[in-house]
């Protein structure tokens, strides 16, 4: 590829104060995240460099807190990630676009009319009250999503809310919040959905998907679908537990734990498992990719994992809040209808206690009935045999 072809990207890099060396390094780390061999780095560099044709994209918000938007806007200095993301021509982005009112809506309409764009959806799909739980510009948000998804080349469901409703869908879920994938299945829309749960989404993963899906052509040839797990998540990002890659894992194996915030153990950076860390059951590469321009992440900041990457787009009740609260307990609470929420340990203790008490009571009965010393006398004959004898004189 001729050097001149890369002008646009080089200008961008230069104008943002990013050296070519940084750019190559970044492509290397991106390749590692995508599970590609180092041999793929030149191809990836070429793909990004030649990606001067902007890929149209829409960023729609459903029932969201805009946290994922915040996450993507986290960069305090322009970095390579933001340049890669600049390859997306995001024609509509409620929170941060310049255009307002009709102009903004027109941009969205025209993009949808042209088709072939990437739809990035943030927030849950608010199906409650017949879709009136969320109305944008006089239209039900569900209608907007159905229309936008139908014309899209692919949908990136970013953040746990877009994947399975997230905390918006936590019981009792009056807004009828669900994830994009379930909504599209219900509506019979077959556009492929790539799910990127966590609250909020990690912008590095969006970058990874942009490179993987668009620049390396995995969407065009359909090969991206083989790289997704049963929940539509990229296996390479969501394939291993946080626990297995945690920098505090050594302390776990040694049995060195933090039992209380503010303790000596906490100062020493011991394992947060007894404080309800959900790392063992949460599957993301947070410990490797980390957050905020790779400067740190929850556990490095001293907080147990609260399992925000747990999601089940195909079933209700699997959202991370329902399966993870209270966050600082080892077990979730069980909803017992009118009795409120109860810890499984309490249920087990009560049942065990009742069983123990029943045995003691039965033992007292056995003693009173005189069965303990010597036991009761046997019946002379089984009732069944007695009946048979009565009937036919049996044996």
């Amino acid at each position: 590829m001729a050097h001149e072809d890369h002008g646009a990207v080089y200008d961008l890099l230069k104008s943002r104060g990013v050296s070519r060396r940084d750019f190559l390094k970044y492509c290397g780390s991106l390749a590692a995240m995508l599970g590609l061999s180092e041999a793929m780095v030149p191809q990836m560099v070429a793909a990004v460099e030649s990606g001067t044709k902007l890929q149209p994209a829409l960023w729609l918000n459903g029932g969201s807190c805009s946290g994922c938007t915040e996450s993507i806007a986290q960069v305090d200095t322009p970095d390579v990630a933001s340049i890669v993301l600049d390859l997306l021509s995001i024609n509509y982005f409620e929170t941060i676009m310049m255009a307002q009112g009709d102009d903004a809506e027109k941009a969205a309409e025209e993009t949808i009319k042209e088709g072939g764009y990437i739809l990035i959806y943030e927030g849950s799909v608010m199906t409650g009250q017949d879709g009136n739980a969320l109305v944008i510009n006089g239209r039900k948000s569900t209608e907007i999503l159905a229309e936008a998804a139908a014309g899209a080349a692919a949908v990136l469901a970013v953040g746990s809310c877009a994947v399975d409703g997230g905390w918006v869908a936590a019981a009792p879920n009056p807004a009828g919040a669900i994830g994009v994938q379930e909504f599209l299945t219900d509506e019979g829309i077959s556009t492929p959905v790539i799910n990127l749960p966590t609250c909020p989404v990690n912008p590095e993963w969006i970058v990874a998907m942009v490179v993987d899906v668009l620049l390396l052509g995995k969407l065009a040839d359909g090969s991206i679908l083989d790289e997704l797990d049963d929940f539509g998540r990229p296996k390479l990002i969501y394939g291993q537990s946080i626990h297995d890659n945690c920098p505090r894992r050594g302390h776990f194996e040694n049995g060195e734990f933090v039992y209380q915030f503010g303790s000596e153990e906490e100062k020493k950076g011991y394992c947060l498992y007894p404080l309800g860390c959900k790392g063992p059951q949460t599957f993301t590469n947070c410990p490797i990719v980390r957050w905020n321009s790779r400067s740190g992440w929850c556990i490095e900041a001293g907080s147990p994992c609260i399992g925000c990457g747990s999601a089940n787009p195909t079933k209700h009740g699997g959202n991370w809040v329902d399966v993870g609260t209270p966050f600082l307990n080892r077990h979730r609470d069980l909803p017992l209808g009118g009795l409120g929420n109860t810890a499984p340990g309490t249920v087990a203790g009560v049942v065990g206690g009742v069983a123990g008490a029943a045995l003691v009571a039965h033992g007292v009965g056995m003693k009173v009935a005189g069965r303990m010393d010597g036991g009761a006398d046997y019946e002379p004959m089984k009732a069944h045999d007695a009946k048979k004898m009565k009937k036919g004189g049996g044996e």
């Binding site: 797990d229 049963d230 394939g239 291993q240 537990s241 626990h243 297995d244 776990f252 194996e253 040694n254 049995g255 060195e256 734990f257 498992y273 007894p274 959900k278 063992p280 059951q281 399992g307 747990s310 089940n312 195909t314 079933k315 009740g317 699997g318 329902d322 399966v323 993870g324 080892r330 077990h331 979730r332 069980l334 499984p344 249920v347 087990a348 049942v351 065990g352 069983a355 123990g356 045995l359 039965h362 033992g363 009965g365 056995m366 009935a369 069965r371 303990m372 010597g374 036991g375 009761a376 006398d377 046997y378 019946e379 002379p380 004959m381 089984k382 009732a383 069944h384 045999d385």
Partner: protein, 225 residues
């Protein structure tokens, strides 16, 4: 004296051994499992997990072996008899277990004074013994579902998906353990409430004289050897 004789035919030596292995494994699994659930003291997690995996394999292999042996080893058809038949027939519900069901429930709840005659084991006793088999396998299955090296296998993924993820699976695993603890408490109670002869037989393989019964569980008259 209204106790049946306790003869070795009731529990052939190989089953005395498998029973010992069950007991040791289950105690080790419950204790290490409690620790893994919440590490009450420091410094033991690596050992606890190692124990938990080791004894899980021991328990599963032992149970599988026990089931296979049931088809080859002969055991007494009823307590208090030396008459034997293939063990599996005595393990699964026998005819008398079915039609004596009501009598046993009445006896347990003190509505019937005299001790029901029966097949091998009381009705509830036998039912619970049979249930421990699927329960043990369920325990292993739920355990594998929350064990990260294998939890992404299709067979375990399906279960995880069914119950909405590893947290719920972990709670099911935890409750199953409680079912085992409660079962063991009732089992130990029922086995020993009318005397410790059953324990002497199953643990030390020691016989004890008592009433004698024929192969169908009917009184065979007096004591016999």
């Amino acid at each position: 004296m209204a106790h049946p004789a306790h003869y070795r035919e009731a529990h052939p030596l190989v089953f005395v051994i498998t029973h010992w292995i069950n007991l040791i494994s289950m105690v080790a699994l419950a204790c290490s499992g409690f620790y893994i659930h919440y590490p009450f003291f420091s410094g033991f997690m690596g050992v606890a997990r190692g124990m938990h995996f080791f004894f899980m394999y021991v328990l599963i292999i032992n149970l599988t072996l026990r089931i296979v042996l049931a088809f080859f080893v002969k055991s007494a058809t009823v307590l208090g008899s030396r008459e034997v038949d293939t063990d599996i027939k005595n393990w699964l519900p026998q005819k008398a277990n079915v039609h004596q069901f009501g009598a046993w429930i009445k006896y347990y709840t003190f509505f019937k004074k005299d001790h029901p005659l029966g097949a091998k084991y009381g009705v509830l006793q036998k039912g619970s013994y049979i249930l421990t088999v699927p329960l043990t396998f369920l325990m292993a299955y739920t355990g594998f579902c929350i064990y990260s090296p294998v939890m992404d296998w299709g067979f375990f993924q399906a279960g995880l998906n069914l119950v909405n993820g590893p947290m719920n699976m972990r709670i099911i695993h935890y409750f199953c353990m409680w079912v085992f603890i409660i079962f063991t408490a009732i089992h130990a109670y029922l086995a020993n409430v009318e005397g410790v002869a059953p324990s002497r037989l199953i643990f030390a393989w020691k016989e004890e004289e008592g009433l004698h019964f024929d192969a169908d569980g009917n009184p065979a008259g007096g004591k016999s050897h």
